[in-house]
Amino acid sequence: MLNKIIPALNPGKIETSRRGFLLGASAVAGGLMVGMRSAPVSAASSGAAAGEPANPLTGYIHIAPDNSVTILSSQFDMGQGPYHGLATLVVEELGADWSQIDVKGAAGNTKLYGNIMWGGAVQGTGGSTSMATSFDRYRQAGAAAREMLIAAAAETWGVAASEITISGGKLTDTSGNSATFGDMAAKAATMPLPQDVKLKDADEWTQIGNEKLRRFDSAAKTNGTHGFTIDVKLDGMLTAVVAHPPKFGARVKSFDATEALKVRGVTDVVEIPRGVAVVGEHMWAVIKGREALMVEWDEAQAETRGSAEIMADYKARAGDAQQATARTEGDTAAALAAAAKVIEATYEFPYLAHAAMEPLNAVARKNADGTLEVWGGHQIPDVYQGISAKIAGVKPEQVTMHVMTTGGGFGRRAVADGDVVAEAVSVAKAIDFKAPVKVQWTREDDMRGGRYRPAYVHSFKAGLDKDNKLVAWHNHIVGQSIVAGTPFEGLIKDGVDSTSVEGASNIPYGIQNINVGLTTTDVKVPVLWWRAVGSTHTAYAVESFLDEVIAEVGADPYAYRMELLKDHPRHAAVLKLAADKAGWNTPAPEGRFRGLAVHESFASVVAHIAEISMENGTPTVHKVTVAVDCGIAVNPDTIKAQLEGGTGFGLGSILAEELTLVNGEVEQGNYDTYTPLRIDAMPQVDVHIVPSTNKPTGVGEPGVPSIGPAVANAIAAAGGRRIRVLPMSKSMGT
């Protein structure tokens, strides 16, 4: 999701050639730390990164004398499994045993952890890039550590390195010598750096591509011991909730804390830039304190429109000329004018909330030596480090970012202004840093805190010639820009925010005349990337409308797409695999109907085939067949899990998720009115992976986009209506 945006944030890209991965090593507390040798690049323009010398947490792999191996992950894990993925790469090359392995979030050194897929300029997780940015970097780190351990053993035992084998966390040689990694860790740290480490060939892999590997973190996530930000406990820590304005763009005019301060356990009530914070000994005290707080808001600059007015405006504008053109080939206007038949449709998409299970939170503590520590789900830690430093009035290198794994993210924790991280530091500062502070949002704070998947309208015109050939395709998208007005604004090129049109502007179909246009609206409802970003609406719109066109022609949806995909073998292969596995060319069981869709997002291609039944105008999705091409499958079972979960996440969103506003205020507050998928609506999902020797591409997001249109197309196949207004719950049962 953050693809391409970071260069916009910091145009000064670092070197990303193979040189960029040159490893260094150092002795750390008697162990071996493998990391980067060269000095870090200078700080990014907004949100400076700390220099390497000031931050102790450098490197990729720490092998301790107690034989533990800690992998320092540049990638933040919100559930998609990059910790497990990076560990797999290291274990493969290092020859470690999984029982030795732990993974921790790292931060504070852009040179080490900058996302290579973003030019290396900023550390961050997004755009389903974790495996792509890590595939070489962490394999090389593992291989370098392996060579240094072997060199240490060779010197200790007086044998040639070639006689030493490293496997299962043990070093052995042909004459019976044996040592653990821990035994050799201190000596290995003094060995010369291997200059040109050789990585294993694919046919030597035992970890990469091994479907039987289990995630190292599952047990802790099953017995309550895995710690999240909400679980951070520090001596003397206070908890805070923040009263935010009910309308976006409003500000605090005045407040009266008298009653709030009478609540047992409330210690402070302070104003911060984003609202009024109630601080106290525990969550219940501050919840009650906030209920007793009186705040008057200045709403002069606030958004006061409701979502119904916003959508009405979008629909009207979808029929007007587009502001900007994202793609044009041929002469679409002329082709439409000359077409034997023109098909038109308009699709509507609501605002969506991320609604991750762990409501937003962060913890800030200023230490006696002037340093600041900030715990949180830091999706872009360098940026948050800079923001935290600025608020606290310290230097970025005095700030340590503790990157916690988080209870779901879906894009919500990558916010240019720091959001809840800024709040935690602001509250701590407002109470003069007298205690560490955890700012914890409630579910309602999270639901009403903005940063939604923007609402969009798509209008379409398709032209068929007299032979029913699709000769013209016009798609006009209307909605807010995610990056406008943020430091990522540089992503907008020629009036087009690529996150608004991705998945629509790059349709793979062979059509002579294509025009994809964009009109960007000005609405004060804060918006953000939401798992799969532009593809959350473009896939549904494009694949549903194409199905309408195919129905008009009277062709088979699979065969017709395959014909249009002649020049895109990767898409065609994915679609074919899904069709073969789903038995597309055999009749569906009695009372069942199938629909399909194929979509590229985050450099991966996914096809969904949904099998449904209809009762009283309402679909039940029974079975979903998924095919994916994501390059080399590093962790096949994690990929399957992501496609299963992504399918459920996407299905829930199109069935019944919608965030609405009335007079500028969000109507939904909790899961009773904003309704993600529950277990009773989860279909059986069978995932099939296309074998590949290409570098790994994304899997965290690509499972989401194409389930929606597959279901919509199955409903149409069942004789139901074309559902052009989401969520489907609006038109079900009628």
Binding site: T222, K233, W284, G408, R443, T638, A641, N670, R678, I679
Partner: protein, 153 residues
């Protein structure tokens, strides 16, 4: 006022307001953080604990009403069913982010205690109150069936 609670077999006194939800007593006062806050409205199940063996949303039970009951959290759940469910969860790699899984495990254990061979329908009835935003539902369902199978053997 002080309330005497039995949590995971330990009897302890908590000096808190009577309307404090059991969830916040468990998390913020007793310091047992395996039980999660997700909604505060009994809509997500992340705070599920057993109260006298019955799966209960601890965010909706006030401390004064929990006196005299036996409270079990994810940290204290034991026995063959619990151990089997937790083992199966790891064997099948059910969790993704993991945040809801304490609640899912507590709900699954309660279901299997009550219904050793649950059908898909039984699972839907027992667990539809437990949200998983990562949508790990397919593996949760498979995990409950697998645990039932192992427990029968």
């Amino acid at each position: 006022m002080a309330y005497n609670l039995n949590i995971n077999g330990e009897q302890k006194s908590f000096d808190v307001d009577e309307d404090m939800p059991l969830l916040w007593v468990i998390r913020d006062v007793a310091g047992l953080t395996g039980t999660k806050f997700g909604c505060g409205l009994a809509q997500c199940g992340a705070c599920t604990v057993h109260v006298d063996g019955v799966p209960t949303r601890s965010c909706q039970l006030q401390v004064s009403d929990a006196v005299g009951s036996t409270i079990t959290t994810i940290e204290g759940v034991t026995g063959k069913v619990a151990e089997t469910v937790q083992k199966v969860w790891a064997d099948l790699d059910v969790p993704q982010c993991g945040y809801c899984q304490s609640g899912q495990v507590m709900a699954a254990v309660a279901l299997l205690n009550e219904t050793p061979k649950p059908t898909d329908e039984d699972i839907n009835d027992a667990l539809s109150g437990n949200l998983c935003r990562c949508a790990t539902y397919q593996r949760i369902r498979a995990g409950i069936h697998e645990a039932a199978k192992r427990l029968e053997a």
